[in-house]
């Protein structure tokens, strides 16, 4: 997905993190696994106070009608959930003592399809 040039007014301060805005769960998990723990922790700290604000802000549109310029915010909030696992539970990017991520395939659910099919 192509990134829009900027985030909405109230979220301008998150622009340095736009590179984390992947449109699929698979893309987000792979980015998490490629990131360092420092990068993940930095992202987690930046987004933690903003996730509820993002959800409230996006509330004004149904899922299948979120404008393209707003979607990176949604994807960043979803990416936050990936990094939360690392920071709150695992203390490393990947799951320790786990079946390797190369053995998993991830398919889109209905919500992901709705968001990515629209506008």
């Amino acid at each position: 997905m192509t990134m829009s040039s900027g985030l909405p007014e109230n979220f301008k301060h998150l622009e340095p993190y736009q590179g984390w805005a992947h449109s699929t769960e698979d893309g987000r998990m792979r980015q998490r696994l490629e990131a360092t723990m420092d990068e993940i922790t930095d992202y987690y700290r930046a987004l933690l106070p903003e996730v509820n604000n993002i959800a409230n802000h996006l509330q004004q549109w149904p899922l299948d009608a979120i404008p393209a310029a707003q979607k990176p915010l949604l994807f960043m909030a979803l990416m936050f959930m990936e990094t939360a696992m690392c920071v709150e539970f695992f203390h490393e990017p990947d799951v320790p003592e786990a079946l390797g991520a190369e053995h998993i395939e991830i398919y889109a659910g209905r919500a992901e399809q709705l968001v990515n099919q629209s506008g």
Binding site: A55, M85, Y107
Partner: protein
């Protein structure tokens, strides 16, 4: 604490309490018997909902590797769902190569025969050169299909030895009322594990392992000193091999992220509050701090239900030492970004936690194959594992057909 620490064995005196042989988990010849006596006769959960194929021509293809078949489930122009073999009756070519989609009909790419979406043969190229083609009987070979609460099942027996409804047994009362129709697919996962299907599944049949295998991923739920091993209060074994295991999770402090997720929806580890309305089709009412029920349809698929979500999974046997674990997670259809963000949390918890289980399974399978131990020791909390070995040996015998598999 239970006054009786081993309540379940007494309810099932027939399955014993002794060590259980590892042979069925490692013997390739035993797997061949399972293929013939169990897999070929079962109703197979396609991990597909009727509403996944809403329109005429919508179809879905699944390869069932252990039976060497590929099955097309398709909704015909008459509105009916059918299952057919993915094989052209002309010369046996595979008919469809895609995973699914929508089609008016199917054309074989070998010689161009055409079938409609009800499976009937409608066009034969250069038909004049054939001798007495019996076209009405040359439709796609049928596979038995039935549905249960919207879940699509197929059966590859010539004549199924029992109905789908009969094979669901007690789930027709215990599980059937669950509000499946209010939820949609939130995420779908496929994992490949190098382990026997039973070894793979066994870690998903008890909560005893959580304190170790999931010490990181659900650590917040493991801090109750009175209940360190989350000993289940309800394990229901059905005579046909079906099982239900209720999992409870003690009240726990939410992490900052679970707090956010729970603020916008149900989560995997937080949902069955005491003050919540009864959830039909679950054991919630009888169990303190109920979290979810694991419902196993013998032999290897499950419909697991929680407070505000459910997931369907299957431990697809591929060979005696390879299994594909497939999981589909369902939540109420998210009408807003907040609901989607909340659901993402539970999806990732379950996804990562499954990888912890599957790692253990591969290691265990290798160790069992080494022959270092010939039997496993099972506690009362692991009675569902015992019950599963009991059922497979009932169908396949207790003797190793291969013998020198060590």
């Amino acid at each position: 604490m239970n006054s009786n620490a081993r309540p379940f064995a007494a309810l099932h005196p027939d399955i014993g309490t002794g060590p259980v042989s590892t042979m069925p988990a490692v013997d390739p010849a035993f797997f061949e018997k399972e293929r013939e006596h169990i897999f070929r006769k079962m109703w197979i959960n396609m991990i597909l909902r009727e509403e996944d194929l809403p329109n005429a021509g919508d179809y879905f293809v699944r390869d069932i590797e252990v039976l060497d078949v590929s099955v097309i489930v398709v909704r015909g122009d008459d509105g009916k769902l059918r299952a057919v073999h993915n094989v052209c009756p002309h010369r046996g070519n595979r008919l469809v190569r895609e995973d699914g989609g929508n089609r008016k009909g199917f054309q074989c790419d070998f010689h161009g025969w055409v079938f409609d979406n009800q499976g009937e043969l409608v066009f034969v190229t250069d038909e004049q050169r054939f001798h007495d083609l019996d076209k009405p009987n040359l439709g796609l070979a049928k596979v038995h299909l039935d549905t249960w609460r919207g879940f699509v099942y197929v059966n590859l027996e010539e004549t199924p030895s029992q109905t789908l409804e009969a094979s669901m047994a007690d789930f027709n009362q215990d599980l059937k009322p669950f509000p499946f129709e209010n939820m949609v697919l939130a995420g779908r996962y496929r994992y490949e594990a190098k382990a026997n299907w039973k070894t793979t599944m066994n870690a998903f049949q008890e909560s005893y392992h959580a304190a170790f295998v999931h010490k990181r991923s659900v650590q917040q739920c493991l801090e109750d000193d009175a209940d360190p091993y989350l000993a289940s209060h309800r394990i229901k074994l059905q005579p046909n091999g079906n099982q239900s295991i209720s999992v409870h999770l003690p009240p726990h402090e939410l992490t900052p992220t679970e707090m956010i997720a729970y603020g916008m929806g149900a989560t995997f580890t937080q949902g069955g509050d005491a003050d919540q309305a009864a959830i039909p089709g679950t054991a919630q009412e009888g169990i303190e701090n109920w979290a979810f029920d694991l419902n196993i349809m013998f032999p290897f698929s499950r419909i697991n239900v929680g407070a505000g979500w459910y997931y369907v999974d299957a431990f697809w046997p591929i060979t005696h030492d390879r299994t594909v674990y497939e999981l589909a997670f369902y939540f109420p259809i998210p009408t807003s970004a907040g609901a989607m963000i909340s659901q993402e949390y539970s999806k990732i918890v379950l996804r990562d936690l499954s990888r912890e289980d599957l790692f253990t399974n591969e290691v265990t399978h290798n160790a069992l194959r080494s022959g270092a131990i010939k039997s496993i020791q099972l506690s009362d909390q692991e009675i569902a594992v015992r019950h599963q070995y009991e059922k497979v040996t009932e169908f396949c015998g207790t003797e190793s057909a291969g013998d020198d598999h060590e």
